[in-house]
Amino acid sequence: MSNLLQRTAICGFAVGVVCLGCARAHETAGNRFFPATLAVDDPGVNDELAFPTISAFKTGDDPSAKQLDVSAEFAKRITDDFAVSFEPTWTRISRPGGPNMNGASGFQNLETALKYRLYKNAEHEFVASVGFNIEWGGSGADSVGAESVTSYTPTIFFGKGLGDLPDSMRWARPFAVTGQIGYAFPNSRTTSTIDPDDGSIEIETNPDILVWGGSLQYSMPYLKSSVTDLGLPDFFNHLVPIVEFAMETPVGHTIDSGTVTTGTINPGVLWIGDKYQVGIEAVIPVNRASGKNVGVIGQLHLYLDDIFPNSIGRPLLASSTLARGSR
């Protein structure tokens, strides 16, 4: 594989896996507490810090290389329903990855996201939000696959708890689903690259990508506080077994990228505390283009609204104390 081809492969893969390290918001709707998820976003709009999120996996390149991502996300509410977040990610690729197959390390492109909570229904444990994600092209290191083009991703998020099921199905009430669907498009349709081997210029078409995913989760805290208190040891009453899936499908201008869907399915568990949560999940690639073998992702997520309720944990423009509390 030439350096150019390898770089292209790394870049393409980086687009697909960069969200592995994304930190995600938490949310409350009536009885339901939607925890922050690790691989996909959820409708939560909140003040929080996910740090660190660490993922280790084998890339989908051929030959495959080990990749370690360490990321942080700081989300800040501007109003009760509107937040902005920033997320840097540091990447280390082991041999035979990197531009010269000697490995590489550096930061991915900085990501900024805006999110607005559109609707929340406490009785039916439903919440929906819209977001706009910007990956700032050229802000990261080319050697770890950071793209030179900026990409924009308008996204719709939703979360639904099953707490309104009838009494005959009360054991299913702790279940909840979250989902997201977004459309990523670049600010430049093509990227020109000079092959260091022969000096030729190659022009790559940057595709539009459908970014989609979700989670299925079973809340033990919900089971205890809203369905039945089984008298389990306290540790188990904080657990949320979860399966996430995060997918990307090129859907436009796919002449160079192809249309193969890439992504991962992540079974794991979250432990929910009053002020923070920790989570760990396996990262199972859905096909060879998505990775090789099973990876792992872990995260410590701090609820800044609970830790610092009267300072950095409150919206910059809070409408009122009670309104803030009702989020």
């Binding site: 409350t28 009536g30 009885n31 507490f33 810090l49 740090f51 660190p52 660490i54 370690l68 360490v70 942080a72 540091w90 280390r92 390390s105 406490a122 009494d167 009360r170 805290p221 205890k224 506080s225 809203s226 369905v227 039945t228 208190d229 008298g231 009053d274 002020k275 923070y276 410590l300 701090l302 609820y303 609204d305 609970d306 830790i307 610092f308 309720p309 009267n310 104390t321 009670l322 803030r324 509390g325 009702s326």
Partner: protein, 123 residues
Amino acid sequence: MNTRFVLSLCAALASLTLVTAPAFAHARLDHANPRVGSTVQSAPRQVTLWFTEKVEPAFSRIEVRDDAGNRVDIGKAVVDKSNPVELHIAVKPLRAGTYKVFWRVLSVDTHKTEGRFSFRVER
């Protein structure tokens, strides 16, 4: 910047944040009497809820309703003075049946939370 340095920095900053965090959070239901989802042999005289944080008496309430949706609670919910995480309310003499408890509280750090659960009286 090597991997060990980045991971060490992550661990150090995360630990520092947790250690320096004051103890405030949403008030979530910890447990209740009668227990959530339980069946009791004799009718309780009151329903008591214990939360994970102290709650504000003025903005915290409990409603208890029978199968038909009629309220069976008496008076206002009271926060225990010696234990501000405990909120209780008296109820009328309860007949056999299923009762739903609706609660809504404001924690002392002004976060509002709500929830509901049911219990059954078998007598």
